[in-house]
Amino acid sequence: MNVLGIIAGVVQPVLLLAGAPLLIGVLGSVRARLEGRIGAGVTAPYRELRKLFAKEQIDPGGTSEVFRLAPLLLLATTVVVAVVAPFVASRPAIGPAADLFAVVALLVLGAVALVLGGLDTGTAYGALGAGRRLTILALAEPTLLVAILALATRAGSTNLATIVTATLDEPLRVVSPGSLLAAAALVVAIIAETGRRPVDDPASLAEATMVHGAAELEYAGPDLAIVRLASGMRLAVMLGLLANLFVPWGIATSAAPVAVLVGVVALVVKILVLGVLVAVAEVFVARLRLVRVPELLAGSFVLALLAVSASFFLA
């Protein structure tokens, strides 16, 4: 435990939790403007969350505690990742837990919880969405893992903080072929995992075309609010990880107030820039047919594999 770690452990989850709706709002606004609409504004997700939180809680027939606990577990896993991974500060709050393998596995655990929640309703849409989500997850997780392992091989450790510090010490490593391949693979895996276009369309109204929307169909009121909040936070967490693994500059390395402030601002700017890029890309690509999604993910897995090989041979 160190001062910087404690500050990071408090600031990171609060910042990511509070900022997640803003990120979703920015994504929506950028997309609306590019499509020639005015949009609902960047604060729309906050208003929606407030509305949902005020509604009554509902238990669909035949569901069990698995259905009720799933949103909370999704939120809890994301919060743990926000505490331990290096977002604002390069020294994590809980050193031995900031392992990339643990972080990826925690994110997957949250997704699995939501899949089980969707299955627990016993409905057609729930099973459909859950099945699709699990298939995507089974392919996206290996890609995430192998892509980050490519960076770990170079840094000689699977600890995320060590990887980030190694990149800070030797900035030129970022432009190596292994890193670039890993970055490309990570982007695809993150887009698939968070359900953005071209894998899934968050703005679609037809449930049958959706992956995430179908699995979450029975959630309403505060439960849905927690699912939305946690999903937004997952996107923020993954974009933040992507940013800090490849462009860690600005991250606080000391506990000085200025350094921490710079770290916060840097993180917000990085996540927002990546978010805007995702939104812009979404306007220009169409959603893939579901049967093509595994091909896309298989491609990104191959990229990740090449990244590991490159970091072995070209080091």
């Binding site: 238990d59 643990a102 309703t121 409905t123 089974a138 072995f312």
Partner: protein, 632 residues
């Protein structure tokens, strides 16, 4: 007094007594007493095996020679640190399966044979000579074959499974026999003598390949896994649990004992072969598991995947040892040994929970299950725990062994050479893929089989199993939990055992709360991650309670987007992977057809003409004389 040896002897005596109790006729021991006698006897055998294994892991070595017990070779018993994990794994599975069998074993043959099967499995890692090892190995194969065939009246499929199993286990025995006898012919019977012997490199290679075929068949590794889904589906649940959880790990033991210990490492291509087998089974097994609709078959295929991961660890250890990196080899082998222990605990749990489901519903088809969590809450919780433990998610059992394996692979210094540079990324990719596929396969099995709504009358009318069955599940669950939260209890001992096998330094793995690797940078704490997750979940639940304390949850019917009745099919979920043929259709059927054709071609030589046979004899003698005249 040697603890390991004492408890191993106790296990053997208890097991034989339990087998006798199971075999007693009804007028001596009433059937309602026979099941507890045999079942609890098996559990006690397993418990003694666990104690012996733990004693062996803490450095309680023992060697004994009983020359008169077996003709020609005698019996040699040798327990060392490497025997420990495997004794423990067999013991843990036997304790859970034994208690479970009290409530779910009607057949006298199964009751008599299960304890003998456990004793045979405990003696394999304790064998200290070629003769003893082969006898125990064959005893394992024979007793398990009887167990596979116990329910032969139920369906003709049982006979088919029995034939496949008998053929492959005996084929495996044959290759192990020829390999080990080749080695023993040069140096002597006892393992100690074999270690000191130095056969030529070519002879060592032949011995390794021969034994590898047999051990891979026993471990259920692709493409020799073909018996496993069949035998484990048709055997009674307790026996299937023992075969899947304990017996397959003995294949890994054989490879480590012969390859690393007796033959002293060997060259790179041996271990590349092991690694390739492991990679193939890990990915193919779990891929097929993700598309299975039969619950036991799904678990059997997941077992193939788990076995593959053990072989990846062993192969990586051998590869690193051959390349001279003893530290990394130690870490990789530690990962494999922890995977063996975890595999024994959670596979037993999953198979026994499935057995409990089959016992209550009479079906193991995911299509007709569903909605069991209301009727069978304990079984549902047990299967959920097993699925979590097996799918490498925190706080699971497999998570930490996979983490260790990844550590060994990631820390290979760049530029170690082309062979390692190609093998390691492929192994990493296979490990990552198998993790993702395991999540999909087991999450799907749990979600479809236990959650949602009942899809048949059998599932709707299911009732929870009796307490003794649940106690069996609880014991296996406890073992999984201990390994998930406190792997540091066993890791230092496993590290020592690995260091012994690969000849590395000591203190490969240390730490109490945090796992710390010696020689390479790697620290991780499964306990802290679990606590952090629990705290976050408690905060989330508490926060939700506090925020919504004035509101009651209203029960409504499901909306389902206005759709009709719930789907009755589980396969809407299955990932279409590859055709139903699988390995059997693509590899084994053509191979068997080719053998048949070869046999038929042989008939052309034998037309029934006596003149021709006399002619064969004449030309054979002439040919022999010519060969002797030329070579002598």
């Amino acid at each position: 007094m040697n603890v390991a040896a004492t408890f191993l002897a106790a296990a053997a005596v208890l097991g034989v007594l339990a087998a006798l109790a199971g075999a007693l006729p009804d007028y001596v021991l009433k059937p309602n007493l026979r099941a507890p006698a045999a079942g609890f006897g098996t559990a006690l055998t397993g418990a003694a095996g666990v104690v012996a294994g733990i004693a062996a892991m803490t450095g309680d070595a023992y060697t004994a020679d009983v020359p008169g017990l077996l003709p020609l070779s005698g019996v040699t018993i040798s327990i060392d640190a490497l025997s420990g994990p495997f004794l423990t794994a067999v013991g843990v599975a036997a304790v859970a399966a034994g208690v479970y069998a009290v409530g779910d074993a009607r057949s006298r043959v199964a009751q008599a044979m299960t304890p003998l099967f456990v004793v045979a499995m405990l003696l394999v890692p304790a064998a200290g000579g070629v003769g003893t090892f082969l006898v125990c190995w064959e005893l394992v194969a024979a007793t398990s074959l009887v167990l596979v065939l116990v329910e032969h009246r139920r369906s003709p499929e049982v006979a088919v499974a029995g034939r496949w199993y008998a053929a492959l286990s005996q084929l495996g025995f044959l290759t192990v026999l020829s390999g080990l006898l080749m080695l023993a012919g040069q140096a002597g019977d006892s393992f100690a003598a074999l270690r000191d012997a130095s056969p030529s490199p070519a002879a060592r290679g032949v011995v390794f390949v021969l034994t590898l075929v047999g051990f891979a068949a026993a471990a259920g590794v692709a493409p020799l896994h073909i018996w496993l889904p069949r035998a484990n589906t048709e055997a009674p649940s307790a026996a299937a649990a023992l075969m899947s959880a304990a017996m397959v790990t003995l294949g890994g033991y054989g490879i480590v004992r012969v390859g690393l210990d007796l033959l002293g490492g060997g060259t790179r291509w041996w271990w590349l072969g092991v690694l390739a087998l492991g990679v193939l089974s890990a990915v193919a097994g779990l891929l097929r598991a993700a598309a299975s609709t039969d619950l036991k078959r799904l678990l059997a295929r997941a077992t193939i995947g788990g076995s593959g991961l053990v072989l990846v660890g062993i192969g990586a250890a051998g590869l690193f040892a051959a390349a001279g990196d003893r530290v990394l080899a130690g870490v990789a082998l530690t990962a494999a040994l922890l995977q063996v222990l975890g595999h024994a605990a959670y596979t037993a749990l999953l198979f026994l929970a499935t057995g409990s489901v089959v016992r209550a519903t009479g079906t193991r088809d995911l299509e007709t299950l569903g909605g069991l969590r209301r009727k069978m809450p304990v079984t549902t919780a047990a299967f959920g725990l097993g699925a979590l433990a097996a799918s490498a998610l925190p706080p699971g059992t497999a998570f930490i062994s996979v983490w260790l394996l990844v550590q060994a692979l990631v820390h290979v210094p760049p530029g170690t050479g082309t062979t390692v540079g190609v093998a390691v990324p492929v192994a990493l990719a296979a490990v990552a893929l198998s993790v993702g596929l395991a999540v999909a396969a087991l999450g799907r099995a749990f979600g479809i089989g236990f959650l949602a709504r009942p899809r048949s009358a059998a599932a709707e009318q299911a009732s929870e199993s009796p307490p003794v069955v649940l106690a069996g599940l609880g014991l296996a669950g406890l073992a999984s939990l201990v390994l998930a939260l406190g792997p540091t209890l066993v890791l230092p001992a496993l590290g020592e055992a690995s260091a012994l096998a690969v000849g590395g330094g000591d203190h490969t793995v240390s730490g109490i709360i945090t796992v710390q690797l010696g020689g390479i940078a790697g620290t991780f704490s499964p306990l802290i991650v679990t606590i952090a997750l629990a705290v976050a979940l408690a905060l989330a639940i508490g926060g939700a309670r506090l925020l919504f304390r004035n509101r009651t949850r209203r029960a409504v019917s499901t909306w389902d987007g206005g759709a009709g009745p719930p789907p009755r099919r589980a396969t809407t979920f299955a990932v279409p992977v590859y055709g139903d043929g699988g390995t059997e259709g693509r590899v084994w059927r053509p191979a068997l057809a080719a053998l048949n054709a070869w046999g038929r071609a042989g008939r052309l030589l034998a037309t029934g003409s006596v003149h021709r046979y006399v002619g064969y004899g004449f030309y054979a003698v002439c040919g022999l004389l010519v060969v002797l005249a030329v070579t002598r």
